[in-house]
Amino acid sequence: MSSPADQRTLTYGEAVFEATRSEMARDPKVFVMGQGVDDARGMFGTTLGLHKEFGPERSFDVPLAEDAMTGIGIGAALMGMRPIQVHQRMDFVLLCMNQLVNMAAKMSYMFAGAHRVPLVVRAIIGRSWGQGAQHSQAFHSYFMHVPGLRVVAPTTPHDAKGCLIQAIRDDNPVIMIEHRMLHNVRGVVPEASYEIPYGKARILSPGKDVTIVGISHMALECVRAKHLLEAASIDAEVIDPVSLSPLDIDTISKSVERTGRLLVVDTGWLSCGASSEILAEVFEKIGHRRPFVARRLGYLPTPCPTTRILENLYYPSPQSIAEATYRLVRGAEAPAWLPGRVDSSEVAEFRGPF
């Protein structure tokens, strides 16, 4: 049974806002800090007006001091507060790495449970309309490498709300990866509060011929590729990991066990990346009993170029994903196949400006 309320739609950005607002109302310890969170843009709408509703103590701008501000968030978390830190671009989170890796990730372990760090770091990956080399980087694999950090990368508005609520309520540091291209994507989001558990992948679209794992925005592109592949009579299963650390390797492995083929499409570079990790873990789990073929797609191994003509080459597209999948399924000897065209409107229409 579904009521009309269950069919309410929000954009991804609105879902993030709703999760933040409802948690702030529920728990006075929750607060938001970050450059520009209380300005007229309100972090692409995700924090808009929270300082008016909850007061400037609970949603505030910070100096351009990522290192110390991260440490300050950690210090507040040690004292029982629940800070949400927001970074307009993940590129800037490199300035926070010392605190996130050396402190936040270590506090529970190093002090044998004497401390906990209920910290949420929202990091937004940029893309399109000339973001260039320093406003487009995706470092989720850096965080996946570190014990003591949780990493989530929801793709749908539904999962964005549930992942953020879960992250805020968690007593551990959580890095929430958001892709700027997802903020305006619309989907069904229940009004009630709910948590999306860690380590549970989502089968976005079932299929029997090949398993395609798409991370963050690439999950959307993989669904588009699946539709293109129908013209070649290839039935792809698209899986969104949702949670990158911990990973739900069971769901992915079970799919690969059925299909015998795995394509991982990352919102990031391939080398030492999330795609490498997924491939390695699936192989360790089933490789001894189920041979399978595999491939990875991701950003080209270059910095991101600014001009659109090159930028378009840099990212996997529904076409390139469909082509790679076709080759994986039909083999190197199969005749050439050109997928149709499909519009990734959130990319094409983006005018940011950032």
Partner: protein, 318 residues
């Protein structure tokens, strides 16, 4: 703990003597290799921790560095659990996962020390932010060496603490040397007090070998912080007698003149404070603290090592 005596010199002597004796015992035990981890000794620097912490309440929150034995003990940290931690035993304050560099006891506000220079400073400021948000009466005291002031994070933290008028006392233990690098080779401009004042934070320098003045000025600074006047900065000149790390002397490295070290040892703060006390009181303090030290070592010896499966515990809080 016995009752708090009215004589601050007696309280300081008790704390400083405990710190000195614990660390002398660490030096004695080190060759046995029972303490299998780096130690950064506070011998020579005991007065700063003792004088500042004498003004703190149990609820006040303390952040420090890997040279943290003195701080842990001065705030009232459990001596047996510290020794067990150094031994890597399960009864240690962090079940052996921390060691000497990360002593912790949140029950008394000892928040756990960091071994990456200056990283604890911003955490301390964040704790002060939380106390202000929680409308707490407690304050934060943040200890660091002068080396930490080289780091960008220190500057960012000072700025924010002042911007938000947070309840925090910054205590710089200026012992001149970051490992073997002298502060004059690292610090430009008119010095740390001026840097602090540039952020709008009142600053004061206290010379070494004046432990009771240090005690009095720390009390004044803490009172100002408690009154809600915002952060204060104390630059406490001090001197490390031993090597940067390890139990030994370091004269062999020739990075500091022997005469400089000898003069500091000659002006021993522990002896200065002890000289203010009647000899029978001094002896009774020494006897009591000596017993605590030996009991702590016996406790550490008797404790067991953690079970193998503990390696997986506490990666995440539950």
């Amino acid at each position: 703990m016995e009752e708090r005596t009215n004589d601050p010199a007696a309280r300081l002597y008790r704390t400083m003597y405990l710190i000195r004796r614990v660390e002398e015992e660490i030096i004695r035990l080190y060759p046995t290799d029972k303490i299998k981890s780096p130690v950064h000794l506070s011998i020579g620097q005991e007065a700063v921790s003792a004088a500042v912490c004498d003004h703190l309440d149990r609820d006040d929150v303390l952040f420090g560095t890997y040279r943290g034995h003195a701080l842990y003990l001065a705030k009232g940290g459990d001596v047996p659990r510290m020794m067990a931690e150094l031994y890597g035993k399960v009864d240690g304050c962090a079940r052996g996962k921390a060691g000497s560099m990360h002593l912790v006891d949140p029950q008394i506000g000892m928040m756990g020390t960091s071994a990456v220079v200056a990283t604890g400073v911003s955490n301390a400021v964040g704790a002060a932010l939380a106390l202000k948000m929680q409308k707490s009466k407690a304050i934060v005291v943040c200890f660091f060496g002068e080396g930490a002031t080289d780091e960008g994070a220190w500057h960012e933290s000072m700025n924010f603490a002042s911007l938000r008028k947070l309840p925090i006392l910054f205590v710089c233990e200026n012992n001149f040397y970051a490992i073997y690098s002298h502060v004059k080779d690292r610090l430009a401009g008119p010095g740390l007090q001026a840097r602090s004042r540039a952020y709008g934070i009142e600053a004061e320098l206290i010379e070494d070998h004046e432990p009771m003045k240090l005690h009095e000025r720390a009390g004044a600074a803490i009172a100002a912080v408690r009154r809600g006047e915002g952060p204060r900065f104390l630059e406490c000149m001090t001197y490390r007698w031993r090597d940067h790390v390890g139990p030994g002397e370091d004269r062999v490295h020739k990075y500091r003149p022997d005469a400089e070290l000898d003069a500091r040892i000659e002006g021993d703060n522990l002896r200065i404070v002890g000289g203010m006390l009647p000899s029978d009181l001094r002896r009774s303090i020494e006897a009591a603290e000596e017993k605590r030290v030996q009991d702590a070592i016996a406790f550490a010896e008797a404790s067991t090592f953690p079970e193998d499966q503990e390696i997986h515990d506490h990666v995440f809080a539950r």
